[in-house]
Amino acid sequence: MTPAPLSPSYEPERQSRRILGPIFGLACLVATSTGVVVLSILLGAVVAAVIRGSQGGSVLGTLGHLLTSMQSSTPESAGFRAGVVGSLWLLGLVAAFSIPVGIGAAVFLEEYVSAGRIRRIIQLNIANLAGVPSIVYGILGLALFVRAFGYKNLAFGPTLWAGGLTLGLLILPVIVIATQEALRTVPNSLRQAAMALGASRWQVVRDHVLPSALPGILTGVILALSRAIGETAPLLMVGAAGSILRLPKGPSSRYTALPVEIYNYAKEPDPKYQAVAAGGILLLLALLLTMNATAIVIRNRYARSSRG
């Protein structure tokens, strides 16, 4: 079938479009592969280092050993137990602080403040905070939480409290922004439907807006928490211990974190420690993957129940 003749104002240029389409697709494929290839090389190198270090033993066995051993002066018996436990503690504290505060701030900004100058100013500040380098948060945490500006009885010292709150502040803007984005995707007609039934703002937010935005919020929260777990610089600043021989007993204990231990092992001149550090990286990756998987499971379950 021949296409109907077009008026001369149209120049469809079918030929060039037919060529440009696939070229664009190819460019996107290359872009995707860049990330995948680089990641594979990295992962390959890390796994190779671990295999070299495990001297005939299985990789899983080596990782298990690393997971259960404390720090040590010999690479053969060194492990990340203190760091893993410390990082899990940090994760809990960061989540407990930054999730409610971040979501609360976003709900306030999106649902309660009417759009205007004030909201724009706050918005701009939050966006800027999200771009502040993490070491600056480390300095803030040192002054505010570790030393409390010199008020000794208010200061946390180099404890999990200080580390958790510092990382919490660090990811707070990210959570606020991600939550705001998620809240904006909730159609206004839903809010109006609920308001028209005589619901208060809080009832609308609790029963309709937050559940609808939850998948988006979760994605943002998990990404932010993953970032917190991988941070090293601010923790060095607020005093995560370089060498530690006991596990933290509670949030007021001293601690170390997985990335800090990786950093310390990697600094050692003995190449056997390099393999230990590589193993630590795999442990960190496993932790991150677990977190992401959890997010996906929760999200899917939630999406199903809100549809049904």
């Binding site: 109006q192 308001m195 005589g198 208060s200």
Partner: protein, 279 residues
């Protein structure tokens, strides 16, 4: 009390006389969106237990007027209102009037069906629950769905999502949801614009049934519908004096019993509109 307030109080009619036939009234109501005047000096009285239709060309402010009645316009950024609206004789914008409580008593059905992304059951039950309904919820859900002429179509799948229904069913679900909180007035903004003739007929029958217990205000672009269902009709128009590009101001040109408005309209603009010559 300032002088101007005294004057306003004196000009306002004394409270509701017993058996006052009108439930909602506006006096000199003007509404702005930002700096543009959307409604100018509207004065009408909506009779109790009757169906009042609003007709008029697109953009003349019918939805705006409807949203003023339940203060949904408060939620629009930049919207501002002047004049007085009373509900049962009380000023709805007075200090201390709770818009949330008001909206429970003046329900609204929107132009586009907007069920909650929840089950059919939850769609109906939610409004009642947040308003503190203490009775048997299953009963209320069934009763509301029956009144909205939807029960027979959904009774076997109350726990399926409301979004799985057809557009017409969704609109009736929205009506059921509104009925479940037992409002006194129901505002309907073109409730049938997305419906086929059969669903439309159902909704119209339903309005006729509801008339005994509720007051209904319906916006419609369908003259036949206005004529079929309503007792009173308000014809709105764009104010010719304002017909610039920047500002479209709506006014009420005629508010009469439907029979009269469609047979012997008082205003030439009404006649032109209903006979299809303008609008």
């Amino acid at each position: 009390m300032s002088v101007s307030e005294t004057v306003a109080a004196a000009a306002a009619p004394a409270g509701p006389s017993p058996g006052d036939p009108s439930i909602l009234t506006t006096e000199q109501l003007s509404v702005w969106y930002g700096t543009s005047l959307a409604l100018k000096e509207i004065t009408i009285a909506i009779p109790r237990n009757r169906i009042t239709a609003m007709i008029g060309p697109s953009g003349c402010g019918k939805s705006t007027l409807l949203r003023c009645f339940n203060r949904m316009n408060d939620l629009v950024a930049g919207a501002r209102m002047e004049g007085r609206i009373t509900f049962d004789g009380d000023d709805i914008a007075a200090q201390g009037v709770d818009a949330v409580a008001l909206r429970r008593r003046i329900g609204m059905v929107f132009q586009k069906p907007n069920p909650f992304p929840k089950s059919i059951y939850q769609n109906v039950a939610w409004g009642a629950r947040i308003n503190g309904y203490k009775g048997d919820m299953d009963d209320l859900v069934e009763k509301s769905l029956r009144r909205a002429a939807l029960w027979d179509e959904v009774k076997g799948k109350l726990h399926r999502s409301g979004l799985e229904l057809s557009g017409g069913q969704q609109q009736r679900l929205c009506i059921a949801r509104t009925l479940a909180v037992e409002p006194e007035v129901i505002l309907m903004d073109e409730p049938c614009s997305a419906l086929d003739p059969i669903s439309t007929a159902r909704v119209e029958d339903l309005m006729d049934d509801l008339k005994a217990d509720y007051t209904i205000v319906i916006v419609t672009h369908n003259m036949q519908q206005a004529r079929r269902v309503s007792d009173m009709t308000a014809c709105m128009m764009l104010d010719e004096a304002s017909n610039g590009n920047t500002q479209r101001t709506g006014i009420v040109v005629e508010f009469s019993p439907t029979e009269i408005l469609f047979t012997k309209p008082n205003d030439p603009r009404t006649e032109a509109y209903i006979t299809g010559r303008i609008g």
